[in-house]
Amino acid sequence: MSDATNLTAQIDINTIPALGKEQLLELAMGPQHPSTHGVFRMNVVLDGERVMKLKPVFGYLHRNHEKIAESETYLGSMPYTDRLDYICSITNNWAYAIAVEKLAGIEVPERAEYLRVITGELTRLQNHACLLGFLMQDMGASGTPLMYAFREREKIMDLFEGLTGARMMCNYLRFGGCRVDTPAGWMDAARKVVAEFPRFLDEYENLLVGNEILMDRTQEVGILSKELAINAGISGPMARASGVDYDIRKVDHYSIYDRFNFRIPLGERGDVYDRYMIRFLEMRESIKILEQAMRDIPDGPIVDPKTKIRGFRPKPGEAYGRIESPKGELGFYLVSDGALNPYRYRVRPPSLINLTVLEDLCIGQNVADVVVILGSIDIVLGEVDR
């Protein structure tokens, strides 16, 4: 009856070249591991508790999104994008919509742009809140910060459900606009949630930001230099924590972000603490954007009337569209051959590319730091493996 295999007897030793030292311990963290945020594996070589070598293994959630999209209509891929980075579905929709709009040359009405910004920034808020919670969970904080984060997330989930009908898989954006307009009373509810959010941030700050254990565990851990960050294609809050002043909302001037007054927090050291704090500060900036957007939102149509739901065929060609998703640069590259479905559909996953430097960050660190570093990169496996 008892199982013959030991829990960790599944190490793929071939992937780790022998180092010729007998004291080294090879450890496979994952694919089922409490802190790999899903099904991710790291083959770690340890000297005591120090990491000597680390090789990430991907593909445990490779769901063939790109292959499936090649046989779906353009609209049919929209709900699949929800499931890429399944914590923030709306920003995924947005990146895809922008790529298709570039491919087909579609304009977006103003109200729709505002709705996109509002839902997108709400997504950013809940993503960052959850991330901080998960990061603390990885540090062993028995769930309390995560619970507080999810308490706030539930409020945003309620908003999403009220607007789009689903909590997580919103499938809200359409080419040239949004799917539905806000129902009565939604905007007021959203204003209330946004107005209450800073209280949560203060609570969080009290709970953890000045915490000595947190600072000790995160400062000077997993330092990423600015040069490496740029060369390795690191994007989003992770790059900004290393001091790279690059936010696609400011650089590409996409949508209507030019109209809002907000700042980009930048880190100095590029360690886990900076990555953690940058996200914390970004939440405060997102609240500013939300307040401005909710104040200024005009009336009007929410979708470009020229776009068709069925039988949408862009002209042959290709387009690369990208946005600043909460994880980083989320891009979609589409090649059309004039048919109903894209000839090639490619997702540029920020989570995967941000993992490029995982080994560099982890070498020489403690095994307990590995989970914290991984947590600070903020990956979602649905996006890493697609």
């Binding site: 008892s2 030991n6 450890l27 508790e49 254990i213 930048l266 730091d369």
Partner: protein, 394 residues
């Protein structure tokens, strides 16, 4: 009235004597011990059950939710259900594991944890063995638990178990030192290793105030250090590295299932109660009442009240703090705890030889506070951690 309350206080002793009265005198000591052991087993097993519910409910409340409230009235039958399930669960021993040691480890852990209660005075005249080297015995038994933990980690033949066991050993041995050193101040002061006489010394009053050791500078520092070390000894958050679930799955008991796993759980909690009880005995006056006018309440009530308070603090801390890292844990032990406990010994000596008065308080207080600040600042500066300011790009 007073007589009655005294009887209530001594009710277990009286009952014991009454029961033993029916037995031939030859077997009386043996039977007395067996009775007391049975009572301790039942009481603390029950306390374990209640603590698990309280912990889950307390954490729930901290986290804005209810916690278990469906199994039995208000969820208080939850541990019984857990127990039934654990008992009937399949017991898996991995093939490569060392079967004998794998089996012995949880048994030894629980046995050792319960053995520690032999020298803990639960109430007035309520102690199993009044050993004159009680404190020594307690710490000796405490090291047995480390052995059990290592047996568990080693025999499982799993890498996570081994890592957990390595961490546990390193941690427990490192914190054994400050734990013992922190308790030495009490022994210095009381001049006895017997837990009973230590408590008796504290159970006197000046006005309404008791003479608990915690109300002296060295006692307070000793208590704080003892509690930190005790948290580490009993693998509680934020020192729960050996079972740090986000890093090494479940640490040394990763490969344990069914009732053996439940035994580990039990052993850990019983061990935690034991160290907390020791802290109470050494610093918080054991079973003595906090004010002289409250002495009419039975002594064991005070003991359990103090124990529960400490347990609740443990739960509270667990609900708040993230876990330390191995090297930080070690740094804390060797760079902060050890010097502090050594300095505390000095403080206790100074206290002993100085005449009572405000000056003694001042000097001893300074002897505790100043090194504490300096050491912690040193710790902080060497690590250079601080709250940072961030720049923004428009």
């Amino acid at each position: 009235m007073n007589l009655k309350l005294d009887q209530l206080d001594q009710i277990f002793v009286i009952l014991n004597n009454w029961l033993l009265g029916y037995l031939p005198p030859v077997v009386r000591p043996l039977c007395s011990s067996i009775l007391a052991i049975a009572l301790i087993l039942v009481t603390f097993a029950l306390l374990f059950a209640i603590t698990t519910v309280l912990e889950r409910k307390g954490l729930g409340r901290i986290q804005n939710r209810f916690g278990p409230n469906r199994v039995g009235p208000c969820g208080f039958l939850q541990p019984i259900a857990d127990g039934i399930k654990s008992l009937t669960k399949e017991d898996i021993v991995p093939n490569p594991a060392d079967h004998v040691v794998h089996f012995l480890a949880p048994v030894l852990l629980v046995a050792a944890a319960f053995m520690a209660y032999a020298v803990l005075p639960i109430g007035r005249n309520m102690i199993l063995v009044d050993m004159n080297a009680g404190v020594l015995y307690f710490f000796a038994i405490g090291s047995l638990m480390e052995l059990a933990v290592f047996m568990a980690g080693w025999s499982s033949r799993s890498k996570y178990s081994l890592l957990g066991a390595m961490r546990a050993i390193a941690q427990m041995i490192s914190y054994e030192v400050p734990l013992v050193l922190a308790s030495i101040v009490v022994i210095m002061q009381s001049g006895s290793l017997s837990t009973v006489s230590i408590v008796n010394m504290q159970a006197t009053y000046t006005g309404i105030w008791p003479h608990w050791f915690v109300f002296t500078p060295w006692g307070f520092a000793g208590f704080a250090l003892f509690m930190i070390a005790a948290t580490a000894e009993s693998n509680r958050s934020p020192f729960d590295l050996p079972e740090g679930e986000s890093e090494i799955i479940a640490g040394y008991y990763t490969e344990y299932s069914g009732f053996k796993f439940a035994l580990f759980f039990l052993g850990e909690y019983i061990g935690m109660f034991a160290t907390s009880a020791m802290a109470i005995t050494l610093f918080l006056g054991g079973w003595s009442a906090p004010f002289s006018f409250l002495t009419w309440i039975p002594s064991y009530f005070w003991f359990f009240a103090k124990l529960l308070t400490i347990i609740l603090t443990f739960i509270w801390v667990r609900g708040t703090l993230p876990r330390l890292r191995m090297d930080q844990l070690m740094n804390l032990a060797w760079e902060f705890m050890l010097p502090m406990t050594l300095l505390n010994l000095l403080t206790a000596g100074v206290w002993h030889f100085m005449p009572a008065g405000a000056l003694r308080w001042l000097i001893c207080g300074a002897m505790v506070v100043v090194p504490c600040i300096l050491l912690s600042r040193g710790l902080k500066q060497r690590k250079k951690f601080q709250v940072r300011k961030y720049r923004f790009s428009e």
